[in-house]
């Protein structure tokens, strides 16, 4: 990509503004920084499970279920979905009732 830009600039040297060399350094070092940041994240992620495997022995991950249960006000359920589901169950039920009444 840089080559492309360089070639373009080279092909038309008069038009290339004076800022182009500076811009090239910015672009290259910018790409370097982006790359190294994501590389570090990548390495960190890759290492984390091993570190956690060690700490796990001293401090095991219990099933922390309090999150969901402790804040019931965050549930903004969908009445429709609920009613549909209930409806389904009732339907099943009536079906069963009919069937079991039938043979009886």
């Amino acid at each position: 990509m840089y080559l492309l830009a360089l070639t373009a600039a080279a092909a038309n040297p008069q038009a290339a503004p004076d800022a182009l060399p500076q811009a090239l350094v910015i672009a290259l070092s910018g790409m370097l920084i982006v790359g190294s940041a994501l590389l570090l994240i990548c390495l960190f992620i890759a290492t984390m499970p091993r570190i956690l495997a060690i700490t796990e022995k001293f401090w095991p991950e219990v099933e922390e279920a309090h999150g969901g249960a402790a804040h019931p006000e965050s549930h903004v359920p969908d009445d429709d979905a609920v009613l549909a589901a209930i409806g389904f169950v009732l339907h099943q039920e009536f079906q069963r009732q009919l069937q079991s009444d039938g043979p009886a």
Binding site: M1, Y2, L4, A5, A8, A9, A15, A16, P17, A19, L20, Q22, A23, L24, I26, A27, L28, S29, G30, M31, I33, V34, G35, S36, A37, L38, L39, L40, I41, C42, L43, F44, I45, A46, M48, P49, L52, E61, E64, H66, G67, G68, A70, H71, E73, S74, V76
Partner: protein, 388 residues
């Protein structure tokens, strides 16, 4: 009768310029694309309606547009406050860069980094796609834009609307409208732009590669990740603090499991409110006289180029990585590094299924996709640090 004439003068029919008419049509086309093609409707509908509203010609002296700002003037030795228009107040969230980090908060509270955590090497694809940003930056400099302007134009290649708006507001406020529209337009057009590039650069065999299902990621990993990733990014590129701080804050609210109600509000009511205000006021900033300039066309051209380069870079980098890997990556997945979450990941899935209907790449594509969001924010931080 004078007053009646005055009334007629105040109507918009007379003052309507061809430019206004074009921009209103553009707005209608945006809304149409959103409805008919389902392209990024949450953005295109507000922007489209904003463009329609912003291009109604208004009588001289009535302050109603986004650019009719409040002012402070000195009068009799005191400071007098002169109010701006309502739209100008809503636009402050854009011009001061407040809306984009709040959008990132909501995105963080929505985003599941699990696939990235389970397959860390895919993160690098999100870096590769940022070549589009810097190549476009060079192209813009070459075309004669100033360095700050070029930086703001380059970030279009990040395929991330809020990041583009955030950086443009800092580096090139005059080009903000054009940059924002270009960024969102191409994000909407991802299903059109990416597939040909992806098919051109891959062989059928490559498109058929199946990837191992991701491993299960523990809760603890997901809790630690946002903090650690923020520290890494922020120390390397402090310019990205605002955007990434909010992104990882939102993700921590989600993954901590003890702040579910805050995460839930951040990804529903809060992000919706900000999206409505951001989209509408960005749309309204495209008034024909500031928007319809040769510059804007150049910006649109560079934007298209940057999406193509970003897609190509992601795909090619994946092919490069495959030379060193035993578990091959399907190179299509590299195209998701441009971010444009989740559209480009869906495009990967679609193109992959054209080759093999039983190949499910969506989950794998989410990893470079979210890495691309981080990558663009870092790129924006770097450009901001150097160019201000």
């Amino acid at each position: 009768m004078d007053i009646l004439l005055e009334f007629i003068n105040t109507t918009g029919f007379a003052a309507m310029s061809p430019g206004n008419a074009i921009m209103i049509l553009v707005g209608i086309v945006f809304i149409g694309l959103a409805i008919v093609k389902d392209y990024e409707p949450l953005l295109l509908v507000p922007i489209g309606m904003g463009a329609i509203v912003g291009n109604i010609p208004v009588m001289e002296g009535m302050a109603m547009g986004v650019y009719d700002h409040h002012r402070w003037i000195i009068e009799d030795g005191g400071v007098e406050y002169q109010p701006g228009s309502v739209l100008s107040y809503l636009y402050l969230g854009v011009s001061l860069g407040i809306y984009p980090p709040l959008i990132f908060l909501g995105i963080g509270a929505m985003t599941d980094f699990s696939t990235m955590l389970s397959n860390p090497k895919l993160t690098l694809l999100g870096a590769a796609a940022q070549i589009g940003v810097f190549a476009t930056f060079l192209g813009a400099v070459w075309l004669g834009f100033t360095l700050p302007e070029a930086g703001a134009i380059g970030i279009i290649g990040g395929a991330d609307g809020p990041t583009a708006i955030f950086l443009a507001a800092k580096l090139a406020p005059d080009l903000l409208g054009a940059i924002a529209i270009a960024a969102y337009s191409y994000m909407a057009l991802v299903p059109v732009i990416q597939p040909p590039v992806m098919k051109l650069l891959t062989t059928r065999e490559e498109r058929l590669i199946r990837m191992k299902p991701p491993r299960k990621v523990s809760k603890r990993e997901r809790m630690i990740f946002p903090i650690a990733a923020f520290l890494i990014c922020a120390l390397i590129a402090p310019g990205a603090i605002t955007l990434l701080g909010m992104l990882f804050f939102g993700n921590l609210l989600k993954e901590s499991l003890v702040t579910e109600r805050l995460a839930n509000t951040a990804r529903t009511a809060f992000i919706d409110i900000v999206t409505i205000l951001l989209g509408f006021s960005v749309g309204a900033s495209t008034q024909a006289d500031t928007f319809l300039k040769p510059q804007s066309l150049l910006i649109f051209g560079l934007g298209a180029l940057s999406f193509v380069i970003a897609t190509a870079s992601g795909v090619m980098f994946a092919k490069l990585m495959n030379r060193f890997l035993t578990d091959k990556i399907n190179p299509l997945v590299g195209a998701a590094g441009v971010s444009a979450v989740p559209d480009s990941a869906r495009v990967v899935q679609m193109v992959g299924q054209q080759a093999d209907p039983h190949n499910f790449l969506l989950m794998h594509a989410m990893a470079p996709n979210v890495a691309g969001v981080i990558g663009s924010a870092i790129a924006a931080g770097v450009l901001w640090s150097v160019l201000t």
